[in-house]
């Protein structure tokens, strides 16, 4: 397969700049796969697992939401946080999951709090899944 350039930027600088054969991620409107020479595309990414295939091997990451921008020559992922399985702290993710679940059970009236707990829960679940699948 023809490789294309992939760049992942976070607030802490450029996370990765590499060439991949295929990129799989979940946008807010569903799972998509990107190959070389894709039409220009802009879309928001859900809190989800993202993976790409490079030299026939699959690399997985936990993505805490973000944005993807596909261009002829380069695909860019703008993410607030991204972690590879090696970087994920399983214990911390499990603690975060327990905390978020507790907050959801405690039924506060503030919908902002519920929303935040939901986001935290989804991030934690994604991390745990990416770590365990590895």
């Amino acid at each position: 397969m023809k490789p294309f350039k992939l760049k992942i930027v976070t607030p802490r600088g450029i996370y990765k700049e590499t060439e991949v054969e295929m990129l799989n991620l979940r946008t807010t409107s569903g799972q998509i796969g990107i190959l070389a020479n894709h039409l220009p595309l802009a879309s928001a990414i859900d809190i989800s697992e993202m993976n790409y295939i490079k030299d026939g091997q699959r690399y997985k990451f936990a993505l805490a939401g973000g944005f993807v921008y596909v261009n002829d020559d380069e695909t860019t992922i703008i993410a607030n946080a991204i972690e590879s399985p090696e970087e994920i702290d399983l214990r911390r993710a499990q603690e975060a999951k327990a905390r978020a679940e507790e907050r959801l059970h405690n039924q506060s009236n503030d919908d902002m709090d519920i929303l935040r707990a939901e986001v935290a829960l989804r991030k934690a679940i994604t991390r745990i899944r990416v770590k365990n699948e590895n």
């Binding site: 802009a42 928001a44 944005f67 902002m112 935040r116």
Partner: protein, 283 residues
């Protein structure tokens, strides 16, 4: 005479210990300055990429997007995010920001204060403010910025607030910092005019407006964080400069006092000699 010499000596000692402190603070500020400048550099690719993408979307859908973030709300309060420092001894840094605050903020505006020096100023003038994010300037936690943006954009979409502005200190170079007031929301479309875009046919999933709904909060997070880091950089640079001046002044003072001390010592010796000589002559 001897008592004079004693007091000068005591003063030299006290100035010397002050100098040691200011010197240490200067060194600390220098290393912190280096750290925050690096952070600012690291943020750049993220920030410019987000900005580019927003520009791209706006350019390829000129005037076609009906998005709440692009329109000013007629009703509601103005929100100001103000960035000051929590520590003193940083020259005119806080005074300059607070002067701008006094000039721009009107009664009834909502203020999100960052930094306890600014909070103290508002307390003194009995102006109410939000202090949930007071420590953001020392933690520099991106997650907190995400929370702040979430809170503000929600109020904005509910049309509770009409405008969001930020007052921060621009880092021009190591010696020059200027406080500035910047409009965050509504997003000024003109600001993106001079960014180069490719103007290719692009698919927006699911729609340009929906994409903007996601991207604009991210854009706000990145610029607020950027302004925050920039302000802290200015603070550290300002502290370094003022501490450098203080150290230099202390050095000048020590040299001055040393001269006075030596003069006093010489006078004392001369006096003693003339007394001995006078005594010998008298015999």
């Amino acid at each position: 005479m001897a008592s004079n010499m004693q007091s000068i000596k005591r003063r030299i000692k006290s100035v010397e210990s002050t100098k040691k402190i200011t010197k240490a603070m200067q060194l600390v500020a220098t290393s912190k300055l280096r750290k925050t400048r690096n952070q600012l550099e690291e943020l750049k690719p993220y920030y410019s990429k987000v900005q580019e993408t927003v520009a791209e979307i706006l350019a390829s859908n000129q005037g076609m997007i009906d998005n709440p973030y692009l329109k000013a709300n007629p009703k509601g309060k103005n929100v100001y995010i103000v960035i000051t420092s929590s520590l003193g001894l940083c020259g005119g840094y806080n005074a300059n920001v607070l002067k701008t605050v006094d000039q721009t903020i009107q009664e009834g505006d909502l203020i999100y204060m960052i930094g306890s020096k600014g909070a103290g100023h508002l307390n003194h003038h009995q102006i109410e403010y939000n202090h949930d994010y007071l420590n953001l300037n020392s933690t520099l936690d991106f997650r907190e910025v995400v929370r702040l943006v979430g809170e503000l954009t929600k109020m904005y979409r509910n049309q509770e607030i009409s405008k969001i502005k930020i007052i921060y200190t621009e880092f021009v170079n190591n010696l020059t910092f200027t406080p500035r007031v910047i409009d965050l929301l509504p997003v000024d479309v003109k600001e993106f005019d001079n960014i180069e875009v490719t103007q290719k046919f692009t698919i927006f999933e699911p729609s340009p407006s929906e994409v903007l709904n996601h991207l604009i909060p991210m854009y706000l997070q990145s610029i607020i964080y950027g302004y925050l880091v920039e302000s802290v950089t200015s603070e550290n640079a300002s502290r370094r400069t003022s501490m450098e001046n203080a150290t230099d002044n202390a050095q000048d003072l020590i040299e001055d006092l040393l001269l006075k001390y030596n003069q006093a010592r010489q006078t004392a010796i001369t006096n003693e000699i003339s007394e001995i000589v006078a005594g010998a002559n008298a015999q």
